[in-house]
Amino acid sequence: MPHLNTLLGTLHPEEMGMVAVREHILWGSSGWEFDPRAWPRIAKVFEKSFNELLDFKLLGGQTFVECSGIGAGRDLDFLVKLTAVTGVHVVASTGFWSDAHTPAHFRRYGADDFARLFTHELTVGIGHTRIKAGVISVGNGAGGMSELETAIYRGAVRAAKATGAALITHGIDTARRQIKIFQEELLALPRVVFGDCDRIIDLERDRWLAGLGACVAYDNVGLEAWSDLPYAMPDQWRAELVAQMVASGHGESVMLSAGSKVANLGRGGAHLSNVGNLLRYFVPELEKAGVAQEAIRAILVGNPKRVLPIQRDSAGGAA
């Protein structure tokens, strides 16, 4: 039975509603916990997270996928409590964001070790709890896929196949290499969401990925010119990308998110978009770009509902 693991238990896919597919609460490259100058006030972070999730909820959002993964700020207790008091379905992810976000303890792992770890988090529980992750989230840093990252990707694929969980990737610059790995490992591409597609704009690439059956996520919505990040751009451009994807018949392969970070646990480089922007400002932007209501609904509700839940095909294998 397809289902979504949230921090408070499992949901039927029909309960997911509008979904932000790639967000962060606490986020930092590994090691921040040893640097007092990188520590936020946790009570303040909790309040800010609470406010942002409630804002999202009041705007109609219902499911929030927290993509930080292992060691990059995922705080299970914090997330469970936040889910309980806001009523937003928060989904935790398993996986490592990139080489730089993989703590030393795991740097000797090979692909099968990673697969075993991710599978455990998806099917048994995170840490010593029985609270399960709902999706796999992995990626690579700028400048290609390192050896460690390759093992992480392969581990993620094997865990996705073993459990039926969806895989969200971050590192669009390696899209071709990722596809090669997925094909080598025989992962069905409809189980994959390529994130960060608005980091390097390439409509042809996106259409190619969609044509292969994968999803593409424009997941830095709201990151506009005020940011000094190199991939900041007007939301209008993102909306046009979506409009063109829909126009070419690829609306069923698009997902959206704000890529927000409530607290950046480093020394600077804050990414201050928030998840409410997705519904408050970006949906009107999509309408302005001529995307039909029905297509917007498919993107925010239908596509995540189809892809993100844990599911197996009729033969009992991973779909």
Partner: protein, 317 residues
């Protein structure tokens, strides 16, 4: 291996440090969550509890036993957050308050059913959290009802199986409590009789009797002096200090626990509303040594009782 179960995992008894043994981080009677009058802005609840624990730690406290049982506010993930970010060890119970505070779902369950459930939590953890309670909490109302007796029997059976202490909210029927627990074969040195210093519950003769039977006397309402906020057990701390002195003089310093029974945030208890001026565990550390010093008990003794005694009674062997 001797250990104490905290919400962050088992620790060595030497790591407990000064411990307030009968407190509540949050407490609410079953059902409070359905009453919108008690729906607080949760970030504020977190901020207030965290600040309270940080202050407690700054004043020398290291561990807190939260006596809020099942359905009474015990909130494992919330407590883990608080423990991790304050550095205070938090120990939670399995069990209930008195039979009068049992959620309806558990009414009519047998002694063995309850006992098995307590053991389940003590060995497999609470819900899906993997967190093991450190003791069993039970209690009585004004008198020992048949339901209260059942609870005590279930607690004793579970305690024997899991090796944990039992905290009984029932000073006013202490001998009855010990008789029931004892009749189930429980080692009385693993029993804490709570609320021996509540207004109306002070009884030095009883306390000496209880202590001489090997059980622990808990003077756990220090700082609860505001009779307009907490009517039924507030009274001057001087009376509590006097009880402590009498016990020490009778040679029972090693059978005594001190605490303040404060909630850092009340989840639905009118008489202890979070907005009524009330004390915290930090106030307990701040004001109690002075109360004791005035009648000749040194501060060193205060900290010794707070450190050495919990270590003894809480250690699961």
């Amino acid at each position: 291996m001797a250990h104490v179960n905290t919400v962050m995992g088992a620790i060595h008894p030497d790591e407990l440090g000064p411990t307030a043994t009968h407190e509540h981080i949050v407490w609410g009677p079953p059902g409070w969550e359905h009453d919108p009058e008690w729906w607080f802005h949760y970030p504020q609840v977190f901020a207030k509890c965290l600040a309270g624990l940080v202050e407690y730690r700054e004043l020398g406290g290291r561990s807190i036993m939260c006596c809020s049982g099942i359905g009474l506010g015990r909130d494992v993930e919330f407590y883990r957050m608080l423990s991790k970010y304050s550095g205070v060890n938090i120990i939670v119970p399995t069990g209930f308050w008195a039979a009068a505070g049992i959620p309806n779902h558990f009414l009519g369950k047998s002694i063995d059913y309850l006992s098995d459930m307590f053991v389940g939590e003590l060995t497999d953890g609470i819900g899906n959290t993997g967190v093991r309670p450190g003791f069993i909490k039970v209690g009585i109302g004004r008198t020992m009802t048949p339901g209260d007796e059942m609870l005590h029997r279930a607690a004793a059976r579970a305690a024997k199986r899991a090796g944990v202490p039992v905290v009984s909210h029932g000073a006013w029927e202490a001998l009855k409590v010990l008789e029931i627990l004892g009749s189930e074969g429980m080692d009385l040195s693993r029993v804490i009789i709570s609320h021996c210093s509540h207004g109306g519950a002070i009884d030095p003769v009883r306390d000496r009797k209880v202590a001489s039977m090997g059980a622990w006397i808990s003077y756990d309402s220090f700082t609860v002096t505001n009779t307009s906020a907490v009517t039924h057990y507030a009274h001057p701390d001087e009376k509590r200090a006097e009880a402590v002195k009498q016990m020490i003089d009778a040679g029972f310093m090693h059978r005594m626990l001190l605490s303040s029974d404060n909630n850092l945030f009340s989840l639905g208890w009118m008489r202890s509303s979070p907005y009524v001026g009330k004390a915290t565990q930090a106030d307990f550390l701040r004001s109690t040594p002075g109360k004791l010093r005035r009648i000749g008990i040194s501060e060193e003794i205060f900290w010794k009782i707070l450190t050495e005694n919990p270590k003894q009674v809480m250690a699961i062997q």
